[in-house]
């Protein structure tokens, strides 16, 4: 008995109080090591070298350049512009996503009629392939498109997608629309975990519906909100398809270029993976900082 207990303690000091956790997480850890660690380590290594992808057996020189790629990336106006663009994107997209997704999820959770129809409606944009959805948005927001026809003389000039001030906000709205189904689902699943007693207590206290929403629902959904904020930030930082397809390669004039689009251009199209990797590493640092910040702001108990 004593022996067992002391073995347990030793195990606990080595692996923590609940060592079974190590077993549960092992498959994931192996997976990360097998398909993620090597490419990622490779990418970081690349960012410090004048690298390019060569055929097996080819003799090539890939000198160490220190922070050269980082300097090149940070002094490139196009790269700076792209980071700025993604900042604009996040400022619009993340709050919009949180407010709309939470509001719609709460409303949907209480809706009794036409439940299936309503849920499917909000989910459809998320499941549809980007190529097609982008096609429809082009139709809506192009110069002679439906939206401009409805706006008549109020239509912006130049039109949405070729207007330097409007292209990125429009993409932010587009992504919010496209991804909303995903986030509504997250909130809906989160809402199932809000104890009904809390509402009943609030109702007894005579709280108005709005007060109940603010004092019961919003705090109870905080973990879900954190999840939504972090995931929306990550999705936004990895923005690629929309500037690639919707504004024809980050147009107009680079006003909707994103860091990942530049990585694609520099690294894959132009064969400068060193610089692309440097942009990628900078982006990763930025997103981690933002995620940490949202965690600090939202996970206070």
């Amino acid at each position: 008995m004593m022996a067992v207990a002391s073995a347990r303690r030793r195990l606990a000091s080595l692996a923590g109080p609940q060592p079974v956790g190590l077993a549960l997480i092992a498959p994931y850890a192996v997976y990360v090591a097998a398909v993620f660690a090597y490419p990622f380590g490779f990418a970081v290594w690349m960012s410090f070298h004048d690298y390019f992808f060569a055929a097996p057996g080819a003799r090539v020189d890939r000198p160490f350049v220190g922070v050269g790629n980082y300097v090149a990336a940070l002094t490139d106006p196009a790269v700076r512009r792209a980071f700025l663009n993604v900042g604009v994107f996040l400022l619009i997209n993340v709050p919009l996503t949180v407010v709309l997704a939470m509001g719609l999820a709460v409303a949907l959770n209480r809706a009794i009629h036409a439940r299936t129809f309503l849920r499917v409606a909000f989910y459809v944009p998320y499941v549809t392939a980007s190529v097609a959805v982008v096609g429809v948005w082009l139709f809506l927001f192009s110069e002679g498109g439906l939206v401009n026809r409805l706006l008549g003389p109020l239509a912006p000039e130049p039109s949405w997608l070729v207007n330097e001030a409007l292209a990125m906000p429009l993409i932010a709205v587009f992504v919010a629309w496209k991804q909303l189904g995903f986030f509504i689902l997250l909130y809906l699943a989160g809402l199932q975990n809000v104890p009904r007693e809390l509402y009943e207590a609030a109702a007894v206290d005579g709280a108005t519906r709005w007060r109940r929403f603010r004092s019961v629902t919003v705090p109870a959904l905080r973990p879900a909100t954190l999840l939504v904020v972090v995931l929306a930030t990550i999705t936004g930082a990895n923005l690629f398809t929309e500037p690639y397809l919707l504004t024809g390669g980050g147009g107009p004039n680079g006003a909707s270029a994103s860091p990942v689009l530049l990585m694609y251009q520099r690294g894959i199209e132009q064969g400068l993976p060193g610089m692309a990797a440097a942009i990628g590493v900078l982006l990763v640092i930025m997103v981690i900082a933002l995620s940490w910040l949202s965690r600090r702001l939202l996970e206070v108990r």
Binding site: Y38, A54, P56, L138, S159, G248, Q265, G271
Partner: protein, 425 residues
Amino acid sequence: MKKYAALLLLIAGTTAACGVDGGAQDTAPSARGPIKIWLSNNKEEVAWGTAMAEAWNKAHADQKITVEEIPAGKTSEEVISAAITAGNAPCLVFNTAPAAVPQFQKQGGLVPLSDFADGASYIEARTGQAATQYKSPDGKYYQLPWKSNPVMIFYNKEVFKKAGIDSENPPLSTYEEFLATSRKLVSSGAAEAAIYPAPSGEFFQSWFDFYPLFAAETDGKQLVEGGKAQFDSPEGHRVAAFWKTLYDEKLAPKEKYNGDAFADGKAAMSIVGPWAVAVYGEKIDWGVAPLPTSTGKPAASVKTFSDAKNVAMYSACRNRATAWDVLKFATSKEQDGALLEATGQMPLRQNLPATYGDYFAKNPDYVTFADQAARTVEVPNVPNSITIWQTFRDAYSSAVIFGTTPPAEAFKAARDKIDALARQA
């Protein structure tokens, strides 16, 4: 064995990334055996390629060709580049973009065709003088010039008639005439746009707006020559000013069209290669005109961009002797004829109209293009080719399409950058 390799990779982690992996096969040049080739997934080309492979396989049971498809679009260079790095590229790709050749070459992904005893002589005998444009800076051929799509102005005759413009000999040869015609087309309401080149920012879009007109205006200068950018010149500025007028006066839209503007009747004109004959042939009553120049050069001397696709041999290929034989077989007079018949694209072969007289007699639509195919300009074969094109495109977008930077300033800045890029070997 594979398991251990995987484990090793895991343990080695990032350090594995630094080493140069061995495993090149230097016995390959004389080896024969089965080979794999990639074709673009364009329907007609696949039909041609499959038939070509069948004909070869019938006669060479021990050296069979396996055919696979890659998309014709933007992704094909990425796929090839990734395959080079992974060492599983096929022997031949019948869809190698000349602009990507410098990069593939730098990657060590290409077999110099000049290393075959009859390599250079075969290429030069087939293509003639034009072949030298495809030589790499080290003097070797890493690509076989295969087929071109010399671009010209296609116009919609019905739209021209509606606008009250002569639809048989439309005034399009000088910039003045071209602009006047464009204004008439749009102001009459016959078409929303006079011409609609893609105004988007991808590096290759300049091949279908600025570059053909630049080739015509300069009598065949490349974007970069002798390690120096050529576009910051009076000719280059004239071409830029021409396009800028079209964009400023809303004769050409600044917004990307989702679909084919010419096919949908949105645009009265389009810059296209001979493939367009088959595509628009039935749907639109079309005419073809040479590219405009500022002074209106005679049609017979106007040059254009070739939009060529070539064949290259990849270093992962083991049976290179077979691959070289297949390459010669696939670009023989007979197979070139079959390609022309199947796709309407122009084999990069000298004396085209004379060699396939029967075909052109039967298909007069293609004669103009065949004639133009003799006067084409290629993208420059220089290091950092794609970065150069992207740099140029970015400058062009901001100066010409969106008008946010004065063209003189934008071109000057792009020239400095491109000169530096072209110097790096």
